[in-house]
Amino acid sequence: MSATHTTKSSRQTRTGGVLPHFAEPRFAAIWVALAAMLLVDAIFLPHSVELSTILAVLPFAAFLAIGAAGQTLVLMTRGIDLSVPSIVSLSSVVLLGVSGAQDGRLWLAMAAALFLAMLVGTINGVLIAVLKLNALIVTLAVGSIVMGIAIAYSQSVTAISSVPPSLAAFSSSRILGIPVDALFALVLMVVATLALRKTVIGRRFELVGTNPAAAHTIGVPVRRYQAGAYILAGLLYGLMAILLAGFIQNPTLQIGDPYLLAPIAAAVLGGTALTGGIGSMISVSGAAMFLIQLEQSIKMLGLPSAGQMIIEGVAIALGMYLSERSGTRRRK
């Protein structure tokens, strides 16, 4: 074997495989950023890094992480999902309506909320993966329809304004001092990571995301995997809606509003490649913590909370730009 075949391969060696995937540069960057922010906060805003403050904002990081995990699945198939706020709103209003604030009906209400969330995901998935319609417009339009249904439904259940007490108690409880929502999110992330990296389905999903045409030629049912991403994402949004509704106890129709852009920002900052296939749930959770801590710092500085949106926008653009650049460099 002549040495000419090796070309650049020796220089291209990555750390992946020897170290866990989240130690790869594109996934590690967010941890560095998170550490840097915590450090800056510790110096200039010591109050924001006190344990009590951290524990208080952790549930919000957990909600965002779950939502961002769904968005990441979709982005990994080269799609995008703008129906998140509507699915969250519908799920929580259905949770209210079906449960009627009674503990006895909680399981039924949760099943209904999750079913509807997955149903919307299925509609998205079929329209996008099977009929090949534009993901942006489909999810925006489906989101509009779902929001309309949520509004209509909420008008019929105006008498009920709070979730069943047991859900409220669960969602705001702590185990070993850690908010249960955060633990729940942690478990979800571990499951998602295992599923993506250690199962046949997860690995085929990675193939579909990286190169759908190549996956198709080697016999992977590409459409099913692409549609599946939207369905699973729906399930995650539903779970998030239930936890979130339980945590704030009196959810309104606006409950989903912050989750249009923030999950995209978290996914992009967590190293997810819009060119598909590449994503890390662990790093996306890190990005969710980063964004929530940032929001907290902005609040404590007394800056307008809308500043968060500007930062998210800049983060999306900058994150994309950097990821595109590293992507094209590697492709050359």
């Binding site: 291209q12 060696t13 319609l133 339009a141 489906v142 085929r204 190549a214 030629t217 909370s305 998210e312």
Partner: protein
């Protein structure tokens, strides 16, 4: 003797590791056809590219019409009088013949209105019988080739380069092309003609130059005693490399793969068998249906016919089904269809084996690693580690990785398209060896290659395709490089297959609808009808609907909706999208509540309005710059902008507040009778926009950019400028829409515009805009917005809750994009569903 119109002297070109051209001299005289003959890789395309200024030679001089070429740029060469006929990517398929011809002319050379007349003249002078109004995409490949030629000669070039002009032509097309070439030489144009087809060349050319391995092997005048055989041996001339392994004797006649009566758009009635341990080669000049035929066997192209593997019928509806039947295809488009570039070597090798690594639901990493290491060793993949991304490997090692995957997939018949494209010499022979070893037991391999030497060296049998049919089968001693080349060079007959399948039932109706939407005003008729139906229903069910106050109210609400739809149309036309328009409208409303505040002096009204428009222009330009220069897709860019712009709006007014000057709002809401001034403005905008778009060169350039950016660029359109202008216009018009929205709400409401992003896209799409770019009209966007506004009005009039309006908006959007872009896919699915079973197909084959 006439003067040389093209003269290349002592031209050399080196690519890393390859001497593409070695001191080549070439000239073409006025009024002659000078053919260049050579195999794939002989350097003829490099020579053509150097002549047309696309490639810069290492040494040598080029003269066109006696004048030296100094800079070697495509535009300089074109200016000196050289025109090139490209094979593809130079015509905008969605536009008419006349429009394509017009677009290729320099700006200002011809008034827009004379486009059609001029096209008629040009086509008739050259005796080309094609309607100037025909859409290029509907033409046959032959007709497209003629349009390319007419386009190239409309500037009266001194010399014309024709690269494989007959590759896609049938007999009749070749005859017409011959006539056209004679017509041109009669006018004194010099023609450089590159082709594989010897009979055509002998028929047309005055002189022939033969290239082999970058070296000129002689120039011969065409005389009756010039022998075809001599030309072929000059062209081939290489000894078969002895490094190709010995071909083993066949052990069994068992047919692993059998293809019977396979027909598709580019190939016809293909039947052959491949036996155990056999490598069957597919040969032919590029573009004669070889690749399409290979792809059809695994369902990557539509075809009818039967495929059997190991005696069982294979379902050829998809690669997945074909793999179940034991047939696997490996694409020549390595980056596009074979490798997973960013994934590791290991992940590229093991996909089809993943199931075997599962232990209790989870993959055993140890088992996977061991298998991957074995594969790496067996196929001689050189990579520093198994975790190296496959894209970082050399072409040869990438190919070995995917070969390993293919031969370990369990498939018995492996179809390989160009097994050694982009692979260095050392690795090639290892690949041949690997193929041979891996089919020895019970497999077979079909190889399509453009390299005749390779086919002669490795195949047991070679099938030669020409114009979609098998014209020759070579085996044993007959199987030589020379015989392969001469069999596709000397072929004359063979009609090109043309079996475009008819669509069925609903799908046929759907196709008509899709075709209808290609004409920009068809969706308008549909929309006007829809508006009347809804209006009629509303007039019936609500006495208020036709009251002038209601009409005025609706028309006032129309202004922002229609303006933002037109804003969106600007970007949709160039194939972009702008999700930030709604947030921008909110920001403008907020800005207006500060700058055009209640009680401000009237000078401030003008200044404030100008400032608002500047904000819009700035946001639009930012979008454009990031999309074009940052290389980020439009969706993500404008989502980021949406977030930023919305953030600023919320900082300005965290909650609704701040009155906008009543003088200003009253001005924008002023009306004649029940008709608001804004409605007149909208009509002016829509009509002038459509005149600009559909009746000017600028509009044509916009559409060309949207349809096919590469073709537009080749025709000299400044595509980056066109894109930037589209985003700028979008920002400006959305800002104007924001001012009208501000006039309606009259307070600084920070999120008032948020629903307009979706409705603007929906309105434009309903009005005929295509998300793929190129299609749409401003009137359509106006009518689409009118329909939306009307729906909302009617819903509130008949007492339905506002949620119905929100739902209706979403449903209409889905319907609109389904009608205009989902139907084709739907038709395909329906066709797949009702696909006749192989048995019925067989019986239909007479």
């Amino acid at each position: 003797m006439p003067d040389a119109v093209l003269e290349l002297k002592d031209v050399s070109k080196n690519y890393p590791g390859v001497r593409a051209l070695d001191h080549v001299d070439f000239d073409c005289r006025a009024g002659e056809v000078h053919a260049i003959l050579g195999e794939n890789g002989s350097g003829k395309s490099t020579l053509m590219k150097i002549a047309s200024g696309v490639v810069i030679p290492d040494t040598g001089t080029i003269k066109i019409d006696g004048k030296s070429v100094s800079q070697n740029s495509a535009s300089e060469v074109a200016g000196l009088g050289l025109a090139t006929v490209y094979q593809d990517d130079s015509l905008v398929l969605e536009m008419s013949v006349a429009q394509n011809l017009f677009l290729a002319l320099p700006r200002g050379a011809l008034p827009y209105g004379e486009m059609r007349q001029s096209a008629v003249e040009k086509l008739s002078t050259l005796e080309v019988d094609i309607s100037p109004d025909a859409i290029v995409g509907d033409l046959t490949p032959a007709q497209r080739q003629f349009v390319e030629i007419v386009k190239a000669v409309q500037t009266d070039p001194k010399v014309l380069l024709l690269d494989e002009p007959t590759a896609t032509l049938d007999n009749d097309g070749v005859r017409k092309l011959t006539a056209l070439v004679r017509n041109l030489t009669g006018r004194g144009t010099g023609i450089v003609y590159v082709s594989h087809r010897l009979p055509e060349i002998l028929d047309l050319a005055d002189r022939i130059t033969i290239l082999r391995d970058g070296v000129e092997r002689g120039t011969f005048p065409v005389t009756p005693d010039l022998s075809e055989h001599d030309l072929i041996s000059l062209m081939v001339g290489r000894d078969i490399d002895s490094e190709y392994g010995a071909k083993p004797d066949r052990v069994s006649d068992f047919r692993v793969l059998q293809v019977m009566g396979l027909s598709g758009e580019d190939f016809h009635d293909i039947s052959f068998a491949a036996r155990v341990g056999e490598i069957v080669g597919i040969a032919g000049a590029e573009g004669n249906g070889q690749r399409e035929m290979m792809r059809a066997i695994v369902g990557l192209e539509d075809a009818t016919g039967t495929v059997e593997c190991q005696g069982r019928t294979v379902d050829t509806s998809s690669p997945r089904a074909a793999l179940k039947g034991g047939v696997l295809f490996l694409s020549s488009d390595r980056k596009g269809e074979a490798i997973f570039p960013e994934l590791s070597v290991q992940k590229n090798m093991v996909p089809s084996l993943l199931g075997t690594f599962a232990r209790g639901g989870f993959l055993s990493l140890g088992a996977e690693r061991r298998k991957a290491e074995a594969m790496k060793r067996d196929f001689g993949v050189v990579a520093s580690t198994l975790d190296t991304p496959v894209v970082g490997l050399s072409g040869g090692n990438q190919q070995k990785s995917v070969l390993a995957r293919s031969f370990r997939s369990g498939a018995k018949a492996i179809l390989i398209d160009e097994p050694t494209q982009g692979v260095d010499a050392g690795a090639r022979f290892e690949i041949y060896k690997a193929i041979r070893e891996n089919i020895a037991q019970d497999g077979t391999c079909v190889v399509n290659s453009s390299d005749a030497q390779e086919l002669a060296g490795i195949c047991d049998r070679v099938l030669v395709l020409s114009r979609g049919r098998i014209v020759r089968e070579l085996e044993g001693d007959e199987l030589t490089e020379e015989n392969i080349v001469s069999s596709f060079l000397s072929v004359r007959g063979g009609r090109r297959a043309d079996s475009r399948s008819e669509s069925v039932g609903i799908a046929a109706l759907a196709r008509t609808l899709i075709n209808g939407s290609a004409i920009w005003w068809v969706p308008l008729l549909f929309l006007v009808g829809l508006i009347f139906v809804v209006g009629f229903y509303a007039a019936q069910s609500s006495p208020v609907f036709l009251k002038s106050i209601n009409i005025r109210f609706t028309l006032l609400a129309l202004a922002p909706a229609a303006l933002v739809a037109m804003a969106q149309l600007n970007v949709l036309l160039v194939g972009g999208i702008d999700v930030s328009v709604g947030a921008l409208m909110s920001l403008i409303v907020v800005t207006a509540s500060f700058m055009i505040a209640q009680g401000a002096p009237s000078a401030m009204l003008v200044l404030g309005a100008i400032l608002c428009l500047c904000v819009g222009a700035l946001v639009g330009l930012c979008n454009g710059f990031v999309v074009r220069f940052g290389g980020i897709n439009a969706v993500i860019t404008t989502i980021a902008t949406l977030s930023i712009v919305q953030g600023f709006a919320l900082i300005g007014r965290p909650t609704p507040g701040g009155l906008i000057s009543t003088n200003f709002t009253e001005l924008l809401k002023s009306h004649f009778g029940f008709l608001p001034v804004s409605s007149l403005l909208l009509i002016v905008f829509a009509v002038s926009g459509d005149i600009w778009l559909h009746r000017s060169r600028t509009g044509l350039e916009i559409k060309a950019t949207g349809f096919r950016e590469e073709a537009a660029r080749r025709n000299g359109v400044q595509v980056t400028f066109v894109h930037l202008r589209a985003y700028l216009m979008s920002g400006l018009m959305a800002a104007l829409a924001g001012l009208f929205l501000g006039a309606q709400v009259s307070v600084g409401h920070p999120t008032v515009g948020q629903n307009f992003a979706l409705s603007s896209i929906a309105a434009a799409v309903l009005g005929g805009a295509s998300l793929a770019g190129g299609r749409g009209s401003f009137t359509g966007a106006l009518l689409g917005a009118m329909f939306f506004t009307l729906m909302i009005n009617v819903i509130s009039l008949v007492g339905l809750s506002s949620s119905v309006g929100v739902i209706a908006g979403g449903v209409m959007t889905l319907l609109a994009i389904f009608l205009y872009s989902g139907l084709a896919e739907f038709e395909h699915l329906v066709k797949r569903l009702f696909r006749p079973s192989p048995a019925t197909v067989a019986s239909q084959q007479e």
